[in-house]
Amino acid sequence: MDNQERPIPDQQTLISEWMKMANQLWAKSGSGPAGPSSEEDAPPKKENARVLQDAFLSTIKSFTAISTALSEPSAVDAVFRGTATLPDITSNFLQSGMQAFLTLQHQAFEKVNSLNERSEPYSFDNLDQETLQSWSNIYKKEIRRYFNIPQLGLNRYHQERVNNALDKYNLFSSCLAEFLQLIQMPFEKTNKMMHEKIETLTKKGNLPADSREYYRMWVKTLEGHFMTLFQSSEYNETFSNTLAALEDYLGARNDIIQDMLQTYPIPTNKEMDDLYKEVYLLKKKVRKLEKANGKG
């Protein structure tokens, strides 16, 4: 019954109590272990251990001070106010992901609807790249900006380099996926055509008995589809974009390697390039002089 009569503590009181208890616990542990406590008693060879212990005690004291300050009702209230804004941040953060998901779902539905449409042989006019294209767009519009958040502090420069490399890698992966999808399309179309051809031959009763004949038909059709694809502007654009994205990624990756190499006592690529160029120009000058003097 007593329990029923006792007032139910509110959230702030509970947190405050918990903080106090935690402070006491850390304060006890911060008072040091039993045993030799004075410096005279400690063996001199354990100097390093003593330094570590001091650092630990100092950290504990700082923590206790901060916890004590936080256990004040006004501070606990501020913490709660801060926590209340968390759902907003999380919601903003997730919003992009959700939007991306919905866009993808929409694309998927459209793709399912278009499955019944007939694929024209030797034609790559209406390339079905929407799904990958939406991935790419989502990345470029929504996700990419997180890699461009300005970095701060001592590591700002290096962190930006790493973020840039990650961004370029993602862009390259997206382009490569589009390119690979294009490359597999002739196979898809060829298989479809082969089914149709076999159906026609079956109806006519002209099915070849030699299995190599099917292979020859298949490879010839495949070649035709590849040739048509390779001449399309879509392919050329995708190929060119993939190559450019690969170059961007390799460039960004090389920048990081370059930075890392600078900390080692070995020359970087840039330094070697400068040297190569100098040697190249010198050699050219020497040969010109040799020719002018008739020694060449």
């Binding site: 490359i183 099915l207 008995a209 590849f226 050329n236 060119s240 450019a244 170059e247 390799l250």
Partner: protein, 421 residues
């Protein structure tokens, strides 16, 4: 009884037969693949007579000597893509051997393997540097005033640039599968390279990686080059000679040195994208390459089914040079087949040998050349080795009989009539 719509019995019978054949073939193939295979390439002996940086000059001495031998040495300049070993892939299909046996004093440039330090080398360094030094070396060594120059693919483009900038050193010029007109959509390479940003490629890679080039070449026809080729290998791997030749070709095709960055950048930018060479607007080493300065005889051989240098990219050169003695020859084969197929072995090297020999008799000191050229008769024929004209056949017979002068007169006369009509 009616014929069944689906001949299931026949199909099953064939399948059973093929399965049995495949089993026998696999057994024999494993014996072959485990045996000692002769897959050596470039086995014809040579001497390295000149070296500069990574570049070497190979010398193949003629294997026979006769009064009929050509006086003028021949320098072959290969492309920077892949290696010159293609001309000597296997003993019985070796252009090098054919030249040697015909008494040609043969020199060949080996461009070597460019490394990072070569990335700044330009077309000027290759043409006015290495090539010019090599030509000077041969002139001095052979004590002659001129040499014959033969360029292959990109090496042909270099040879044309060289012949335009140093015409006094070249007696006869032969170009084979050589791209000169880049404003064509006949080959995929010409389409693709127009989309490429060479600056970005070179800023990233330094030199153009050979493996990346190879990937691009394979993508020109993946159905044939990445699937059908290996299906063909599987079907013939019980044939030792086939396996050996296949491996030789594989060795050559994937032996791809990188291309020096600046050279690649200029070649793509100025040739493939701006098509400056054929318009005589290309600048090399601060000089304009004026094709009208090519006044020596020019033999231009290309291939009908070349997917890298299609006829549209190769045939135009003879109509823009200053020479009055030019000939286009289109062979019924592809870019590589022109050098290695057994069929063209009987046509390609013999045609070059004959053509050079016909012009070797005309050897004259350099100071007389410009004087006499003005008098020369215009010979311009677009012939195909596939369909030999009666005049060509007659010329071959007479050539063997040592009646070259008579032949030339007849040919010039016939050609004159054809041009006139």
């Amino acid at each position: 009884m009616d014929k069944p719509v689906i001949p299931v019995d026949l199909i099953m019978k064939h399948l059973a037969q093929e399965a049995e054949n495949a089993h026998v073939r696999a057994k024999k193939a494993s014996d072959i693949l485990l045996s000692n295979l002769d897959t050596e390439i470039a086995s014809t002996p040579y001497d390295v007579v000149y070296e500069e940086d990574r570049v070497k000059l190979k010398h193949y001495s003629p294997t026979r000597t006769s009064p009929d031998d050509m006086k003028t040495p021949l320098l072959v300049v290969y492309a920077l893509i892949n290696r010159e070993t293609m001309l000597d892939l296997q003993p019985e299909r070796s252009v090098v051997k054919s030249f040697q046996e015909s008494g040609i004093n043969l020199y060949m440039v080996d461009w070597g393997y460019p490394t990072g330090k070569d990335k700044f080398l330009t077309i000027d360094d290759h043409v006015n540097g290495y090539m010019d030094n090599i030509v000077d070396f041969i002139l001095k060594r052979e004590k002659v005033e001129q040499i014959n120059l033969m360029g292959i693919c990109m090496g042909g483009t270099f040879s044309i640039i060289y012949a335009a900038l140093h015409p006094q050193k070249i007696k006869n010029l032969v170009t084979t599968v050589c791209p000169t007109n880049f404003d064509t959509d006949q080959g995929l390479l010409h389409i693709w390279l127009k989309w490429m940003d060479p600056d970005k490629v070179i800023n990233t890679f330094g030199n153009m990686p050979g493996d990346l080039m190879n990937l691009g070449f394979l993508l020109l026809n993946p159905a044939r080059l990445m699937i059908d080729k290996y299906v063909g290998f599987l079907e013939n791997m019980d044939n030792k000679a086939f396996v050996e030749n296949f491996i030789r070709m594989e060795k050559w095709i994937f032996d791809s040195p990188d291309i020096p960055g600046e050279t690649f950048r200029q070649f793509v930018r100025d040739c493939y994208q701006k098509n400056l060479l054929i318009q005589s607007k290309l600048m090399v080493g601060g000089r304009r390459v004026d094709l009208r300065d090519i006044k020596m005889p020019l033999l231009n051989i290309y291939a009908q089914y070349d997917h890298l240098v299609p006829p549209g990219a190769a045939e135009k050169i003879t109509s823009v040079v200053g020479s009055k003695d030019t000939e286009n020859v289109c062979l019924d084969t592809g870019h590589i087949g022109i050098y290695v197929s057994s069929k063209t072995q009987k046509e390609f090297a013999p045609k070059i040998i004959r053509w050079l020999r016909e012009r070797d008799d005309r050897y004259e000191p350099a100071h007389q050349i410009s004087q006499n050229r003005r008098k020369s008769t215009r010979i311009r024929s677009t012939s195909s080795m596939k369909k030999k004209s009666s005049s060509t056949k007659r010329a071959e017979e007479m050539s063997h009989a040592g009646k070259r002068k008579l032949f030339l007169n007849i040919l010039q006369g016939e050609q004159g009539i054809r041009d006139h009509s």
